[in-house]
Symmetry: C2
Subunit: 295 residues, 2 copies
Amino acid sequence: MSSQHPCITDGWFNEVNDKSFPGQAFSLKVNKVLYHEKSQFQDILIFESSDYGNVLVLDGIIQVSERDEFAYQEMISHVPLYTHENPKKILVIGGGDGGVLREVVKHSCVEEATLVEIDSRVIELSKKYLPGMACSFKHPKVRVKLCDGFQFLRDVAESGTKYDVIITDSSDPDGPAEAFFQMEYFELLYKALNDNGVVIAQASENVWLNLDYLKTLLHTARAVFPLAEYCSTMLPTYTSGQLGLITCCKNPKVNPTDPSRVPTEEEQTNMRYYNRGIHSAAFVLPTWAGKVLKP
Amino acid sequence: MSSQHPCITDGWFNEVNDKSFPGQAFSLKVNKVLYHEKSQFQDILIFESSDYGNVLVLDGIIQVSERDEFAYQEMISHVPLYTHENPKKILVIGGGDGGVLREVVKHSCVEEATLVEIDSRVIELSKKYLPGMACSFKHPKVRVKLCDGFQFLRDVAESGTKYDVIITDSSDPDGPAEAFFQMEYFELLYKALNDNGVVIAQASENVWLNLDYLKTLLHTARAVFPLAEYCSTMLPTYTSGQLGLITCCKNPKVNPTDPSRVPTEEEQTNMRYYNRGIHSAAFVLPTWAGKVLKP
């Protein structure tokens, strides 16, 4: 373990990427580096920031900060789960910090939530440094598989197992998650889904950064699913303050912009970001982006 | 004119402010500094960025970039203008770059748009370096007054002149715009408004940065107006990727979340961000913020 990291200069972590977001950078002030290693799969950095709590960084890109993570975890979980009228069996691909699982098990109808994470170090380190997220690993409905998500889906296709909701909570396509943004992945998701099933995937971009890429990704999703829509969640530590999510439905009559369930009073008490209004609002696009991304 | 600026290091402009947004920073790559001076009122910097076009910075805070300015100008203009059923007489306080005026005169019902800017240098420099915004100064419906907006409103109160929509497109409260965030300013706005009039003001913060400040600002607005609501617009070059706007109505039956007019086909053709859907979506708040900011 090294306490130095090439992205940290003069006490600031700098998120810079000439390929994905040229000409702009976001920085967080570092109190101290908690952990740094190159695991078998990726560069893992965890630091305590001055104002955003502990921060997990994979391959130089911020994955979660304790201060704003709920905006991501709640939206990527509750948008598909409330879209589905009765989700029982949930699959999470990636998401080794545990934050998505924490949200999934808030739905009392969920009977089983399986997490497939390729990098066991992310889980172990999240348990230590991001306990507010990793708390969900202890939940009786949760199962964890340490393997490649893509291979897991291939095995699922052979076995005939089906899920109601599948959430791809991956890192960006430059690293080990590259395959999660390809046609074959969407085909495997389709096969692994029940007839009324819903899929959501982080899109790694937003409308400001790379609209053409999002158009291509939606085109790929729509070649497999009868319905795929773009929505987004807004949080400071993601590039440009927002992140795109792609929602796909196997049944074209399921409308992800108009959820079939709403949070019960008790469920709503446990949510800081998600509500019925923000579910639909997340699908509303500014005019120039809507022209490109709407079907 | 000096080409050096304390916020520019190693070819990057860094937006850092320990008071307003401690522990986080946003940076843009600089191709070249186009202009830098300390005017009578503020520090003015204009630079050509690598990926965001020309950028105007006042007192170290990004005001507009050519790439994403429309998201701000369209929302702060069209939200109040489409809320009003027939806006004819418009007042813009601040907004010396001309972008808000450009949007206001897109409404054919508008008969007169008056801009009150304290710093004539901002207008002159915008004409030179931000021509896509400053184009509106030539429009026959536009009048410009070079004076303090606060004093202008005092004179308006004495003269009895009334406006249908007043837009406060100011800089943040740390500089010459400080008075625009006080009770007396809201009282002057109220007096300067027709009975069905609508006011919008940039709130200088967003829900992630300083929710308590927004609560206080709304409290101030609600002490004067029967109705004041928070909405926001999303763009990369504002801190955390979003900026709050406060909309106030003199008639409590006017509902700013449900506009009384929609863009005509021709008007919509000329808008890149605003549309009927995003107008209402801009008022939808994440749960934790809604609890604090909703009346």
